[in-house]
């Protein structure tokens, strides 16, 4: 029997609507008492001090690139898991664009098993919509859904599914299993050679522009197709004010759609590209300040369901290439929640409970997150984060847990940081240090 007592924290649990100071007692991975009396019966329990801190459900990331198998030079499941727990996550969804592509049960089960061996976070593998991300033949969705990985979320992330017939058939076929499809919203014809957001900044820098219409045209098509078929669509990394409006109208019309936004699109705009530092190169690109404002408003009003990192590790050498040759992508796991706390909560745009919801109940409404996202009530699995909302720290790319160091926030001072992370009653991060690898029972 294992006992864990989390003491003195402010319990912020959107699933139960709770915002109160309470102790939390966990036995064998399950919450057995919440409240002032929870400490009773805690003799011999392991203790985590949460005084002055928030106690939230463990965060869920719907959109993660862990690069294993195939891209271990930049990240693997062990380093990515360490980064995740340092950011307060207990579950992350590794994307399918690995090598080999996660388009068969063998690959998603490998990812699931590697995640369990590392034992720091639960992996919710994503499979591709089309074989080999080729955009033509569907993956065996039924078999993937019934595999050990129980895949209920499919994406060719990074490569837009441009063929409208294949997308429509994929939505129709997926509806048999009620799984979610997620398409990278980008009309590739409109973005041929594109390097950054098209606008006043790209025109000065002489970089080929990536028009917002390219995102919105594809998004509108997918919303129309999903509405017609009645299938579930998840919109990844929204970046434009126009895209927000499209999602808002689709939700009002009853389309089965959910949407996410990344921490970087919530906080950075395209003027960051000024020095041609390819760490700022990302797909979809950083947009303008008015887009940032629209995304923040949409996250607050629930048009956007979730913050998802699109954590995309790339090696230093890849990012030191000339801008046009450098790959797209930014790290996100270790900074996402502190960033939202610093820029959206402390500025009054989001109340704490709503901010937590966008990392917990929001993702849990998109797909089956298997015991993650709360509630933190008696009988529930003890997946939680203890977050210190007062501590000030400076992001240092040399000290991140990721193998890669392509964070766009290097040198930025943030307020708030994860102190402890707990997976089914076992601390995976204690006082900011990942617990050594322990196989999960």
């Amino acid at each position: 029997m294992s006992l864990l007592l989390v003491t003195g924290g402010r319990l912020l649990d959107p699933a139960s609507g709770t915002d109160t100071v309470a102790d939390l007692l966990v036995r064998d991975g399950v919450i057995v008492a919440v409240g002032p009396d929870a400490a009773g019966g805690a003799d011999g329990a392991d203790r985590l001090d949460a005084s002055g801190c928030w106690v939230t459900p463990g965060l869920i990331d719907l959109h993660t690139h862990l690069r294993e198998p195939g891209g271990e030079g930049a990240e693997d499941i062990a380093t990515g898991s360490a980064a995740a727990v340092a950011g307060g996550y207990t579950a992350v969804a590794p994307m399918a664009n690995t090598d080999p592509v996660a388009d068969t049960a063998v690959v998603v089960e490998l990812v699931l098993r590697r995640g369990r061996e590392v034992g720091l976070v639960d992996l919710l593998p994503v499979a591709s919509i089309t074989r080999g991300l080729g955009g033509a033949e569907l993956t065996p969705m039924g078999e993937l859904a019934r595999s050990d990985a129980r895949v209920d979320f499919f994406s060719d992330d990074g490569i837009p599914l441009g063929d409208s017939l294949v997308m429509r058939r994929a939505l129709q076929y997926a509806s048999a299993f009620d799984v979610v499809l997620c398409n990278h919203s980008e009309d590739p014809v409109l973005t041929a050679d594109a390097q950054m957001n098209e606008g006043a900044t790209s025109s000065v820098l002489g970089l080929p522009g990536w028009p917002r219409e390219a995102e919105e045209v594809m998004l509108a098509r997918d919303l129309i197709l999903a509405h017609g078929v009645g299938a579930r669509l998840h919109v990844p990394h929204l970046t434009t004010a126009g895209g927000v409006d499209l999602v808002r109208r689709a939700k009002a019309a009853g389309t089965r759609v959910t949407a996410e936004v990344t921490p970087h699109h919530l906080t950075l705009d395209d003027t960051e590209v000024g020095a041609y530092d390819a760490v700022m190169k990302v797909n979809p690109p950083l947009r303008t300040r008015s887009d940032v404002d629209a995304l923040r408003a949409a996250l607050a009003d629930g048009t956007i369901d979730a913050v998802a990192t699109d954590h995309a590790p790339h090696g230093r050498e890849a990012k030191r290439q000339p801008w046009e040759h450098a790959p797209c992508g930014m790290l996100g796991l270790e900074t996402a929640f502190p960033l939202v706390h610093t820029e959206l909560v402390r500025t009054g745009l989001l109340d704490p409970l709503t901010a937590v919801a966008r990392f917990t109940t929001g993702p849990a409404a998109v797909r089956d997150t298997r015991g993650h996202g709360g509630p933190l009530t008696v009988g529930a699995p003890a997946n939680l984060q203890v977050f210190d909302p007062e501590v000030t720290w400076t992001v240092d790319r040399a000290r991140l847990r990721s193998r890669a160091d392509n964070t766009p926030f290097h040198g930025r001072t943030l307020v708030g940081r994860t102190r402890h992370t707990v997976l089914r009653g076992r601390p995976t991060l204690r006082d900011g240090d990942p617990t050594p690898e322990v196989p999960d029972a």
Binding site: A200, S202, V204, G206
Partner: protein
């Protein structure tokens, strides 16, 4: 005192005093550039590397002559058709050049911003000889030198730039420098070839004939035929008729105006042969001035950089 020049990458990095200093220096060096005076030993013992990752015979020749007139040693690193051209190993190349002991790198590349990235990595000055659609600062400086040989001052001068603004590093450098020197700039372009210029401080027009009577300087940009394939404009014939400059159209331009082009000209597309023969055209002056301006840039960049201990 003029701030020393450590790199020359974009016009917007310069202030007015630095521009005036470069132009004054170029004027002093003009007799040498024109071969009216012998070359000078100013940069003897210095090694200038022309790192040209994109074809450009004319610009490379101009930089080559500029360095040699100042007695610098010139090494050419042309990398067409190799992996360097694709850009993957630009920084590896830079490391090699450092180890070889070059004192300055002249970089021509199709990658916008690559000179900015290179300058962050190397200790020697980087001189941008054109990077993608971004900047071509020596072109703008040589054009300013040419204009100031015909006008005392560019304050309020009405300059019209016509052509493919979107893909033009010349246009970006030109506008930034002309604005710094106080000129009023009007851009005339098909909307498909005009980027978002809301922050450029310029006027935009789609009617070339309407702006010509008040234009003091007409700057015609090169248009590349391959743009046809991406539906930027319908045909070279259509382009020539609507956006091109011929003798008939030049009759609308005031008698004391100037006609400029960065070269090479697509004759019959953006500019006809008879228009090039117009007495208001200063296109060949631009070429000669280019050597003097590049001499001035090399001289200023290398006089700001520490001189290695070399026994002459």
């Amino acid at each position: 005192m003029t701030a020393p020049l450590t790199d020359l990458i974009a016009i917007r990095d310069l202030d007015r005093a630095q521009v005036d200093d470069l132009l004054d220096t170029a004027r002093e060096l003009l007799p040498i550039a024109r071969r009216e005076r012998a070359s000078v030993p100013t940069l003897r013992g210095r090694i200038v590397c022309n790192l040209f990752l994109e074809d450009s015979t004319r610009t490379r020749l101009s930089f080559d002559l500029a360095a040699k007139r100042l007695s610098a040693d010139v090494v050419d690193f042309t990398a067409q058709g190799t992996s360097v051209k694709k850009g993957e190993s630009l920084l590896d190349t830079a490391e090699t050049l450092m180890a070889l002991g070059v004192d300055l790198i002249v970089l021509r590349t199709s990658s916008a911003g690559a000179p900015v990235q290179l300058a962050r990595e190397v200790a020697v000055p980087v001189l941008n000889a054109g990077d993608g659609w971004h900047q071509h600062p020596t072109q703008a400086l040589l054009d300013a030198l040419t204009l100031l040989q015909h006008r005392d001052d560019l304050t309020g001068a009405k300059v019209t730039i016509v052509g493919d603004i979107l893909h033009s590093r010349v246009a970006r450098s030109e506008v930034e420098l002309l604005r710094l020197l106080g000129a009023d700039v009007t851009l005339v372009a098909p909307p498909t070839l005009l980027p978002d210029v809301s922050g450029w401080g310029v006027t935009v027009s789609a009617d070339l004939d309407a702006v010509l009577p008040t234009t003091e300087v007409l700057y015609v940009l090169r248009v590349q035929r391959e743009r046809l394939h991406r539906a930027f404009f319908p045909s070279t014939r259509e382009y020539a008729r609507v956006w091109g400059v011929d003798a008939a159209r030049l009759r609308r331009l005031p008698g004391d105006a100037l006609l400029m082009h960065p070269g090479p000209v697509n004759r019959g597309v953006e500019l006809t042969s008879d228009a090039m023969a117009d007495p208001r055209a200063v296109i060949t002056e631009q070429v000669t001035n280019g050597i003097a301006v590049r001499m001035a840039c090399l001289y200023r960049l290398l006089s700001a950089a520490p001189r290695p201990e070399v026994d002459a």
